[in-house]
Symmetry: C2
Subunit: 519 residues, 2 copies
Amino acid sequence: MRRFAADRARKLIGSVQRSLSFSSVVADSSSSAASSRTPPPVTIDTINPKVLKCEYAVRGEIVTHAQRLQEELQAKSGSHPFDEILYCNIGNPQSLGQQPITFFREVLALCDHPSILDRDETHALFSADAVARAWQILDQIPGRATGAYSHSQGIKGLRDTIAAGIADRDGFPAKADDIFLTDGASPAVHMMMQLLLRSENDGILCPIPQYPLYSASIALHGGTLVPYYLDEATGWGLEVSEVKKQVEEARSNGIVVRAIVVINPGNPTGQVLAEDNQREIVEFCIKEGLVLLADEVYQENIYVDDKKFNSFKKISRSMGYGEEDITLVSYQSVSKGYYGECGKRGGYMEVTGFSADVREQIYKVASVNLCSNISGQILASLVMNPPKAGDESFDSFSAEKDGILSSLARRAKTLEDAFNSLEGVTCNKAEGAMYLFPCLHLPRKAIEAAKAIKAAPDAFYAHRLLDATGIVVVPGSGFGQVPGTWHIRCTILPQEEKIPSIVSHLTAFHQAFMDEFRD
Amino acid sequence: MRRFAADRARKLIGSVQRSLSFSSVVADSSSSAASSRTPPPVTIDTINPKVLKCEYAVRGEIVTHAQRLQEELQAKSGSHPFDEILYCNIGNPQSLGQQPITFFREVLALCDHPSILDRDETHALFSADAVARAWQILDQIPGRATGAYSHSQGIKGLRDTIAAGIADRDGFPAKADDIFLTDGASPAVHMMMQLLLRSENDGILCPIPQYPLYSASIALHGGTLVPYYLDEATGWGLEVSEVKKQVEEARSNGIVVRAIVVINPGNPTGQVLAEDNQREIVEFCIKEGLVLLADEVYQENIYVDDKKFNSFKKISRSMGYGEEDITLVSYQSVSKGYYGECGKRGGYMEVTGFSADVREQIYKVASVNLCSNISGQILASLVMNPPKAGDESFDSFSAEKDGILSSLARRAKTLEDAFNSLEGVTCNKAEGAMYLFPCLHLPRKAIEAAKAIKAAPDAFYAHRLLDATGIVVVPGSGFGQVPGTWHIRCTILPQEEKIPSIVSHLTAFHQAFMDEFRD
């Protein structure tokens, strides 16, 4: 009985999951081996079906197409109506020209090659506080061995620094024992999914639209995504009543709802949650017995004056709830913020509220992969403890940081205005994060043209945009959206001097598109 | 019918898997929340049972005990009969004082902070070929952005370098498209297990003794470990007849055997496979339709003159077998070799013989985690393309490399002789890798004393050794062994000047242990 109910729920939720993906998986049996030889040990029909089911649109088909165009451009300039491919599909700031923060790179270089620390020339090349910080970090590493596996949670001294940074940020204590350093935040997300998901009958609440790491990870670990829809009309508002409705529906279908993912600031939606809203979510998690998986990797990316970032740990502690009341995981990454050090693969999760025996299991899974990379660990400690007033690097550091963040804010506003000026396009403000997620009110003819080539209408639009302008965006179907609505996700990351030309190309493309398809 | 057969097979194989672990998982329900509050959303009884089942002895209970002793020593010197803890449990050379290769670290530091490349002082601090190599690598990275996410398989130019290094090593071509760069080799192992394992009815052949990453990964991905025993009497020989017997038995029990793991040089067993033996294995994989998962991370760690490393790709190609004949995955890591850069988390897998559609699925899974860390990627390219004769760094590089490898060879021999001189201990030669895996012929009384405290006899011995000497080794039960035999794994990595004192402490401990328990 329960099983049939669960089957129905999966069908229901499956339709949402399918709508998340642009390119459906094609199990093309015609591509299997020729009959003249022994069949290969692995075919598309014999791999893990969870792998087949997993989708990750941010690096999906449209990006492959863009890479092909780029190769064609390199082979023959002038072969397309644009000079370069602009990758607005992924939050990868340095790929679009953002410069790394000097102080962070100085410290990383010195920790990579500590034997120059004592040399005179080093003082001409590196700031004094970078040298001092490198010494401090080396002294936190047993034997100063930056080439050794560390503790499976990460180097203890660096976790102390991170915990102190969290405590400073929140005004509530944090412990090194609660920090698990990981190669970016993604492996930390996988670890929690692996821990929580026992079967398809276990569900994880995810916002729709969502960052597709979550749907991919849930698919790979064999669980069920339970969607809750953000309300576009109220600036992608997170309504607890909507979440409650979805939990009840999932439960009535036999799904055990184990956790809720909240992305704040939102990805792809860019909203910053209000404190009141966060309090409601905390109350809801406690009442319903849900783990709160708080994706807080955009905590330093806020572009509006009337909002600020509050961690869910701060909110819950300020409500008087402690470890014994709420089970909470906070993800942070060196890939985002003003630093944007995606290639360094640094990140951590702070886990609180788990029992000691469950914590041991998390540690065990972390230990199977030994440890995360030490440079990423060091960088995670640096972003949580950057130069302070009085340090030699402070002024230049602040100038770099403020320059990046204020430019991002200007770019967000310019692109938001540009989208809103387009016929049939509405775009909420990017209060934070690195994306705009405009809604495309596409003409019926465009939708039919898409259907004729078996493409989702937003994917059709994104492909046409790419072919006409070289701008790569991700169709909304890769993130999930209310059925029948169409969006694209576009990063705000192209360098500021390129924004005017992007706006004019986008505008010209859109006008031509509408001229072609206007009903 | 098939299902019951599979159940029987799992029970059979389950008993081997259990024997792999020292500390059994204790689901202590008494530690769950007090009844006065809402039950927590996650308890040890409600987590994924695959996580519970997974074991990883290399960082298991004995290491936790060692860390406790270390803290006690730090708090009160003289509190134990030794001055320091010697971590011989894990192949982590730099944690025991091995120095990194200067050239590699120079290049890493320069790539971390490229803005110093043009400065005069840099030429005083760094070798000219390191500067040149850093420029060359930066030019291979789009936009010279070492802080950007790369292609999900890794930076194309670095993969070209690695493919050229493989081709040089093997004398057969290699392609950048076949390389997937990963954060150490472990994530690459997980990726293949995730791809191949659909259910408990899928089996992976693993040597016993094995490196516990394999048993852990198979458990986490819900498959079945099909053991094949290495023959200790013939220097841990890999007998294809034994593998064949195990495949047949597994199949008769309903298990679909999908792949075979071969670790060469062996971990924990240290043997280097002979070419003839490798050819037999290749033939067997082709005949039986098995993927060959070749753990070749110790390819540069060979300590005997009469053996050399041959990759399975070289062997199969030299037999005339191409991509269409054999599906082969080769793992390599920057953590091992003479470089021992464990903390950098660099590594790759070379995958050949998969169909294009399956390859796409591997790429998709890689893309969900975006990319591996760039420093690790750079280091992987450096170990596959180190300085050459004529380069400024070549002489110093060669001196560092040869110094480390020849010292490791001497340490392996000294420790092997020491183990063999102990009463009731026999130890095969470490022809390669970083470990000795001596067999302990324990007295009956010692076995009974272990049973009385519910410990495996080898774990009992290892604990007594640790408490008496501060030397941390891993009980053989963590790797698997023929039932009724007992072993320990001990790395050969302590610095050479410490080896005499280790030998004398080990000898004194063993004599006292035998005096206490001799029958």
